[in-house]
């Protein structure tokens, strides 16, 4: 057994920032990651970091833009915390040596981004995430923070009182990918989940193969509700064949979208008469698919993004990486021809429900970054707002887990007297557990351990049994088959355009996947670097997470932000200014709602029509 004060799971932007903060607060902190830190998917972020740095800009403008972009489903305390702290955190990165792009006077460059009223997206070429990731890993090395790389966290060591609000998290169970050894990691103060997005629940995604929603699923099964999971961002410019992302920076610098008729459709067809290509991402993604649906798509599949008019010098200076991506992954030279693009799953606005300090309703369990939902992004995330979230809320989670006093949070978590229960949605199938559970359930032997070591030890044993079961089975279904079926269902039915019938169909297929998973087996008999085993466990996580996305998409019968419903074409503020929460409830998921907080520090954000 390993023991530290704070255990950070995942070593992308949020995890690294949390670890540094916890270390600076004096805690003995360790990071446990299934990759090596520099392999984390933060490295693929291209665009930049929104921060009100310049004279004439203001954190309140940033907060306003974010709230409007969220379609009034962001919680004001979260949104304002982000906007207030982003400048300092961005400068901090500069002080750590991050190679930002520069202006003539040597100050850091900022550029316009979709949905922003001021050019406040701070960037480092079109590789901002790469530089942010490496800069923070350098600081982890500098501080000598312990990193357990290629250790896959399988489960949380959480007590199992009936009410999740009474539970405590004492650590994690992980296995060493290289040797197959399963060990407990005891966390004396807290566990911070920073495991990134669940993009692999979809077939066409910009997300890495490792983005399998592990943290979401573990927290969910441990009793922390998942919040607003129906809000999935589809990025308007991903390459059709691979899903590789073409940064919004291209449009920020002046790139233009054309349909097959050569029309600048964002204006020609009135999708966004003021902002055009720089409207919010959900608006542009729907416009593109509408164009394709109306027969004005190129090859009936995609549209064109043209940046040739920007000139070679400007492109090389600010968007060089885009040329490489278009060439390597689509065989297109962006200097001489337009690039084919279509919407691809990109980001989950929802996630593990946390407060401004990153804490869930389970004592000692924190989450930060894409896997968490504070909620900053509400119904739709603005480009350039993911990276500041990592550093602002990663830091806060790390500090709080290390025992620093950050003040009483205004955001509440877990089931409580301020929530409203779901009453009226008919589900086509029962969600949740199918058949025997091999982990995550109340101990069958009747003994309910409450001391940290007892809980951890029991979880380690359960995990070992679980792996033995998967490895000992000689035939059945393989994870790849189930995963492909799940991804296809999500991309077919829970994509940009959603119908009640389609989402119900998806829930049925997810149920089938869950039942088939009862018969899953691991063919590779080796304990050494068994990716077959790891992917099998990840697939279970994807099933749980996909189900919450589809459930949220079904119950929310309105059109808000990225969530579009065919039968419900308007935003219903009277009924839906509230977050969707889904709680695992030991295998029989329940749904409830918590009102959104629109009261900020100096003003209340009045919902207005969101036009660009």
């Amino acid at each position: 057994m390993y023991e530290h004060d704070v255990i950070v799971v995942g070593a992308g932007g949020a995890g690294l920032r949390a670890a540094i903060a916890a270390h600076e607060a004096g805690a003995d902190v360790a990071m446990v990651t299934k990759l090596h830190p520099v392999r984390s998917h933060t490295g693929a972020a291209e665009g930049g970091i929104n921060a009100a740095l310049q004279e004439g800009d203001d954190w309140e403008l940033h907060a306003y833009d974010t709230m409007k972009g969220s379609d009034y489903l962001g919680d004001a305390p979260a949104v304002e915390t982000l906007a207030q702290n982003a400048p300092e955190e961005t400068i901090n990165l500069e002080h750590w040596g991050m190679p930002f792009s520069r202006e003539d006077d040597g100050t850091v460059s900022q550029r316009p981004f979709g949905g922003l009223s001021y050019p406040r997206t701070t960037y480092a070429g079109a590789e901002t995430g790469h530089h942010l990731l490496h800069t923070m890993y350098e600081q982890v090395v500098k501080r000598g923070i312990q990193v357990y790389d290629e250790w896959y966290v399988m489960d949380l060591a959480t007590t199992d009182e009936d009410d999740p609000n009474d539970r405590e998290c004492h650590g994690v169970v992980a296995y060493d990918v290289q040797s197959g050894n399963i060990e407990g990691f005891k966390a004396n103060n807290g566990v911070v989940l920073a495991t990134g997005g669940p993009g692999q629940a979809f077939d066409h995604t910009t997300n890495a193969v490792s983005c399998t929603g592990d943290g979401h699923a573990m927290a969910y099964r441990a009793g922390a509700p998942l919040e607003d999971m129906e809000f999935i961002q589809f990025h308007p410019t991903s390459l059709p064949s691979t899903g590789v992302l073409i940064s919004e920076g291209v449009r920020g610098e002046g790139g233009i979208l054309y349909n097959s008729e050569g029309e600048r459709f964002m204006f020609e067809y009135g999708y966004a008469n003021n902002s055009g290509e720089l409207a919010s991402r959900d608006v542009v993604a729907r416009a593109e698919l509408t164009e394709v649906g109306e027969g004005r798509g190129v090859d009936d599949e995609y549209v064109h993004l043209d940046m040739r008019h920007l000139g070679e010098e400007r492109i090389m200076d600010r968007l060089e990486n885009i040329l490489h991506l278009a060439e390597d992954f689509e065989g297109v030279d962006g200097l001489v021809e337009p690039m084919p693009v279509k919407p691809g799953q990109h980001y989950a606005m929802g996630g593990i429900e946390v407060d401004e300090n990153g804490q869930t309703c389970v004592d000692g369990l924190y989450a930060a970054g894409e896997c968490a939902c504070v909620s900053v992004h509400g119904g739709n995330r603005l480009g350039g707002n993911a990276l500041p979230e990592l550093i602002v809320f990663g830091k806060r989670a790390g500090q709080h887990a290390a025992g620093e006093d950050l003040g009483e949070p205004e955001i509440r978590t877990g089931y409580g007297d301020d929530v409203e229960d779901e009453t009226d949605t008919e589900l086509p199938v029962a969600p949740g557990k199918a058949g025997l559970e091999t982990s995550g359930s109340v101990a069958a032997d009747g003994g309910m351990a409450t001391d940290a070591e007892g809980v951890l030890q029991r979880k380690v044993e359960t995990a070992r049994e679980h792996v033995d079961t998967l490895m000992d089975k000689d035939d059945g279904v393989q994870h790849a088959e189930i995963r492909a079926k799940l991804q296809q269902a999500m991309t077919d039915y829970v994509n940009v355009f959603r119908t009640e019938e389609g989402v119900k169909k998806a829930l049925e297929i997810i149920r089938e996947c869950r039942e088939e998973y009862q018969d899953v087996y691991v063919d590779d008999p080796s304990r050494t670097f068994n990716t077959d085993l790891q992917q099998t466990i990840e697939t279970r996580n994807l099933i749980d997470v996909a189900e919450t996305i589809a459930l949220g998409a079904l119950v929310r019968d309105e059109f808000r932000g990225a969530h579009w419903r065919k039968e419900h074409q308007e935003r219903k503020d009277e009924e839906w200014l509230k977050h969707t929460l889904i709680s695992w409830d030991d295998g029989s998921p329940s749904i409830f709602y918590r009102p959104v907080i629109l009261e900020g520090e100096n003003k209340t954000y009045e919902p207005k029509e969101r036009s660009y």
């Binding site: 998917h41 400068i91 590789e127 990716t531």
Partner: protein
């Protein structure tokens, strides 16, 4: 889409697989894995066909895999298919024990550097239609093989850490002043290429010096140090400290400018030039050299 597959045949076991993690056999066998210029034409020719890949297999604890061997897979070709796509297909459809690292699929995580047709390349950014068949896919040479295409990266990481790979500031203002350090566009441009490194290890694997001197810092670590040494935001004293680390016995002077690292770098970093420049800097500073 056809899914036929030749039975994996064991063949071409390397000559000396004795030690625990057998070294990849590939180093000596530069197969001149020709890049074909007209890759679009080649891709068109392949449409509807399969590509033949030969993949190195080894597992220290599984009977039949303890002796390294090559397995043959025939994978349906699709336009745009990369080497990574081909091994993923083989794994998902034919043999789930086929093991390799991969994550982002877009050449930024640096997980999937393999030895493909005799050259270190990133699987995800290598079009399979550019390669002669059968495409031979092996783990990076000169590193211990853990299993199949997975090599032990610990030594690589250790070397990276040796050069104090973190910004060392002297007196940055307090962050709440919101004052950044100024840096000229020229200086940012100067370090731009060096900052692109994704730690894939291709350069180290291609380097003959690193193969013969386990303590040699290697191109990636020296390039990392270059990034900081050339960054004007760090002071002169720190730069000199960095140069002292680099001019030690196993540092920059070991490089014999064979350019193999520069040739294989998937991010086009001029590694050899960076090493040469650091040698010149060390001479300018009048530091002793070996």
């Amino acid at each position: 889409m056809s899914t036929q597959q030749a039975e994996p045949e064991s063949q071409e076991a390397p000559e000396d697989p004795a030690m625990k993690g057998a070294e990849s056999p590939a180093a000596e066998e530069q197969k001149g894995g020709g890049m074909v210029d007209e890759h679009a034409e080649k891709a068109a020719e392949l449409e509807g066909e399969t590509v033949h890949i030969k993949v190195f297999r080894y597992d220290p604890e599984v009977e039949g895999k303890q002796e390294p061997r090559f397995d043959d897979f025939h994978v349906p070709f699709e336009k745009g298919m990369t080497v990574l796509d081909s091994v993923m297909y083989a794994r998902d459809e034919y043999d789930s024990s086929l093991t390799f690292r991969h994550s982002c699929r877009q050449a930024v995580c640096g997980s999937d550097a393999f030895f493909v047709n005799g050259k270190q390349r990133l699987g995800c950014k290598t079009q399979i239609s550019d390669l002669e068949q059968p495409v031979r896919i092996e783990p990076l040479p000169h590193q211990e093989v853990v299993k199949d295409l997975v090599v032990d990266m610990d030594h690589f990481y250790d070397q990276m850490h040796t050069v104090e790979p973190y910004f060392q500031d002297e007196d940055t203002p307090p962050v709440d002043d919101l004052e950044e350090q100024r840096q000229s566009q020229e200086n940012r441009e100067k370090i731009k290429m060096s900052s692109r490194c994704i730690w894939c290890g291709a350069c180290m694997s291609s380097c003959n010096i690193a193969a013969g001197d386990n303590e040699y810092l290697g191109p990636a670590a020296i390039n990392k140090a270059y990034k900081f040494a050339m960054d004007d935001r760090e002071g002169e004293e720190i730069k000199e400290h960095r140069l002292r680390i680099l001019e030690q016995e196993h540092g920059v002077w070991r490089c014999q400018t064979q350019f193999s690292c520069t040739e294989v770098c998937p991010k086009d970093i001029p590694l050899t030039e960076h090493i040469q420049e650091l040698k010149r800097e060390a001479v300018k500073k009048n530091l002793k050299f070996w």
